[in-house]
């Protein structure tokens, strides 16, 4: 059994049936999967437990999180349970809210990536990329060819590291404790490369409006090649360890099923949408960077269950490695950031020689560069789905409004519907298969 036998690749453009979408919307409202109750009411009910004089209480309100090993940080679920069966549920969030979007309005466009990179901490380069692409669209600048390919190389490696993290947490949630350490170990290999290039393991602030912060260091090619050698080997091991494992299959197959129409009605994207059989991937359908020049497959599932989402992510890592290989082959030479003195700070050496360079340097780092008035929405395909950045500029050096459409946030909506009538043990598998990053949800 290999990971690639359930997911298939689909090159046809998706066709939407509007009547089916409407029907799905009606079904989703009618299934009463969402616990529409204030937290206060739920707390009142939660005091009501165990046998009463009238007999056994048949429903129990159970609070899962925000401090719980498998709610991926600080997600909180209020579950209405009948024994071990979940009837209705309500995801509660906001425990990691730090006002990053609002803070984005106080930071200049140059400082922006430092802020947004902290949103999705498992794949920080994608938020940086979306922010930078949006800013560049407003500025109307074209990033040099080498920067485009560096961005592609780095984000694809980041997709691999993010999926590796998913494999680790998914394994742990299903009880395969060893998997957790294997996943973290392989992710660390990728992070080591990131540290070599960007100086940091996470929160890189590497992709900035105008290009990337620094050129790839000497020896980067060998490092990437050694990564490409190690990771497939390890993925093979995981495939043997998990994919064909009967317990693993029984725990994931047919659990957390969602249809294409339901996923679309709820706005779910990424592996959740693809697991239902709809081949929607922004890299192919609305190409950005140089994705139209690389060859890769969009992996889709058939059943829309947790197992499909697991194997899609496993297969996507192979696709990412395919793209990384093409990046290695096609990496052009040239500038790694745009040579526009108003946007790009001058090199340190130039400051000592040129008065003009000193002025530019001073202006960029004190007040930043002004961005033309306008609004823009740019979306990229993050490991979790469509990650968009919406910026409104009033012509000053700081965005008037900066909003990030976080895929984890929207994907959380699918939880109550996927959990309806499943066991408590399944809820853990379902949360895990949605792979939410709470930093991105709460922003």
């Amino acid at each position: 059994m290999t990971a690639t036998d359930t997911p298939r690749t689909d090159s046809t453009a998706p066709v939407l049936d509007l009547a089916a979408l409407d029907a799905a919307r009606v079904r989703l409202t009618a299934d009463h999967a969402v616990l529409r109750m204030s937290e206060h009411d739920a707390e009142q009910l939660s005091g009501y437990q165990g046998p009463t004089e009238e007999g056994l209480a048949d429903r129990m309100i159970m609070n899962m999180g925000p401090v719980h090993p498998s709610t991926h940080g600080v997600l909180r679920l209020v579950l209405e349970m009948d024994g071990e069966t979940v009837i209705r549920s309500k995801p509660v969030m906001g425990y990691l809210h730090t006002g990053m979007e609002k803070q984005g309005e106080q930071l200049s466009y140059l400082q922006g990536p430092t802020n947004v990179t902290r949103m999705d901490y498992a794949s920080p380069l994608f938020t940086e990329l979306a922010f930078s692409l949006a800013t560049e669209t407003l500025l109307g600048i074209e990033v040099p060819e080498r920067a485009q390919w560096i961005r592609m190389l780095m984000t694809e490696l980041n997709r691999i590291s993010s999926h590796l993290l998913f494999m680790a947490t998914n394994g742990m949630d299903i009880g395969a404790v060893g998997m957790m350490l294997y996943g973290w170990r392989e992710r660390e290999e990728v992070l080591r490369f990131f540290e070599m290039v960007t100086g940091l393991r996470m929160n890189h602030n590497y992709i900035r409006p105008g290009g990337v912060a620094a050129d790839l260091p000497d020896g980067w090619r060998d490092e990437v090649l050694s990564l490409l050698e190690v990771i497939p080997e390890r993925l093979e091991e995981w495939d043997t360890l998990l994919t064909g494992q009967p317990i693993w299959r029984e725990r994931l197959q047919g659990v957390g099923v969602i249809t294409t129409e339901e996923a679309l009605s709820l706005g779910a994207t990424g592996p959740i949408l693809r697991s239902t059989g709809m081949a929607w991937d922004l890299r192919r359908d609305e190409p950005y960077l140089r994705y139209d020049q690389v060859d890769f497959d969009v992996v889709v599932g058939t059943y829309g269950d947790c197992f499909d989402r697991y194997s899609i992510r496993l297969a996507e890592m192979y696709e990412s490695m395919k793209i990384v290989r093409q990046c290695l082959d096609q990496m052009p030479t040239g500038d790694y950031r745009v040579q526009d003195k108003k946007v790009t700070p001058p090199p340190r050496a130039r400051i000592d020689e040129s008065m003009e360079a000193l002025i530019h340097h001073f202006k960029i780092f004190t007040e930043g560069y002004k961005v033309p008035e306008g609004e823009v929405y740019v979306a990229v395909e993050s490991p979790r789905g469509e990650l968009g950045c919406y910026i409104v500029s009033d012509g000053s050096a700081k965005p008037m409004r900066m909003h990030v459409r976080a895929p984890s946030f929207v994907n959380l909506q699918t939880l109550p519907h996927m959990m309806r009538d499943s066991f408590l043990a399944d809820t853990v598998a379902i949360i895990s298969s949605v792979d939410p990053i709470m930093g991105e949800v709460d922003r």
Binding site: M60, S70, M172, I174, V177, Q245, V428
Partner: protein, 346 residues
């Protein structure tokens, strides 16, 4: 039961005290050894890490550090907990564990109580722990603990059956419930007339051995059967409100039970303390060799338990029950019938 131990005349109470002391020390030593060897080191190597390295050479004193840590922790009772039941539960679980060891023989007369109904007593004592777990789950006044306690009750009772049914095959073959007789039957037996290694029942009762080990895994609530404490679902199940020494008691009893069941399995299926008959060592020598034999076998079997624990993902509650009732119990019943028929035929 009064008589000579290693040639020294003793009163009954002296003999019992000696056996209890030696037994307790042996159980704790074996448990500690198994925890260090498997939980700390074996698993670390499986997961490509080093495990404890600081406390003592290669972290060998880590367990003492852990125990010291747990003893220092505050013993917390939650506000709504049923204090008496909550406090009593770990003691019940622990006593169920230690009572198991009473009849497991480690030498010709190295057994605390040589009961005629030995194996029956072991199984009865081991199933007492479910009471303690249920008490803990209920008295904690915590929904996670309650779910864990109920899961444990359902699971332990379901797997009690295949455990007992697997043992019946051995009992039929040996013709006795007494563990010493079962050991003797294996060491004096022969395989098609060849008596080089006696006749350990794993050769004839391999089906029962498989079922016994799977059921043991479930009775110990080790992964893939660890739903009662499933850390990713129920945080820690029935143990969730326990701290300090009471948590330590659960910890000790979990691993001591593992050693206990492994010792029972090696007595039933691997020939127990005995060396194959043809060695013909005297009883005195066997009092040294016997404990070593059964300890080695038990430790190896504990290793199998931990190997499975850290390799497999966790079952879901309904899948666990399906496995017990639809597969293991029917197979165990067929095994009994086949054993009985062959016993009569030969």
């Amino acid at each position: 039961m009064s008589g000579a131990v290693l040639g020294i005349q003793m009163a009954y109470w002296q003999e019992t005290l000696l056996k209890l002391g030696v037994g307790l020390a042996a159980v704790l030593l074996l448990t500690g050894g198994a925890v260090y060897l498997y939980l700390f080191k074996f698993v670390s190597f499986m997961q490509s890490r080093l495990g404890p390295m600081e406390a003592g050479p290669y972290g060998s004193l880590q367990l003492l550090a852990e125990v010291g840590k747990w003893l220092q922790k505050e013993d917390i009772f939650t506000e709504n907990a049923d204090r008496f039941i909550f406090g009593l539960a770990p003691a019940i679980v622990l006593s169920s564990t230690f009572l198991m060891f009473v009849v497991i023989p480690a030498g010709p007369s190295a057994v605390i109580a040589d009961l005629g109904t030995g194996i029956y007593y072991v199984l009865a004592m081991s199933s007492l722990s479910v009471l303690g777990i249920l008490m803990a789950g209920w008295a904690s006044a915590n929904k996670y603990a309650l779910l864990g306690g109920l899961r444990a009750a359902g699971q332990l009772i379901a797997y009690e059956l295949p455990l007992v049914l697997a043992v019946i095959g051995v009992v039929i073959q040996a013709g006795s419930l007494n563990l010493q007789d079962i050991v003797a039957a294996q060491s004096t037996g022969s395989i098609f007339g060849w008596d080089g290694i006696g006749s350990p029942y794993i050769l004839t009762q391999f089906v029962a051995f498989g079922i016994f080990m799977i059921a043991v895994q479930a009775e110990l609530t080790q992964t893939p059967f660890d739903m009662p404490i499933a850390e990713s679902e129920l945080v820690a199940g029935y143990q969730v409100e326990y701290t300090g020494i009471r948590f330590l008691v659960y910890f000790i009893s979990e691993f001591a039970t593992a050693v206990g069941f492994a010792a029972v399995a090696s007595t039933l299926f691997l020939g127990g303390w005995a060396l194959p008959a043809s060695w013909g060592l005297s009883n005195g020598v066997m009092h040294v060799v016997g404990p070593l034999m059964i300890s080695t076998k038990a430790i190896l079997l504990v290793g199998v338990v931990f190997w499975a624990r850290f390799s497999l993902p966790r079952f879901r509650e309904d899948q666990l029950q399906t496995l017990a009732w639809k597969f293991m119990i029917p197979i165990a019943l067929v095994n009994i019938v086949v054993t009985a028929v062959l016993k009569v035929a030969f």
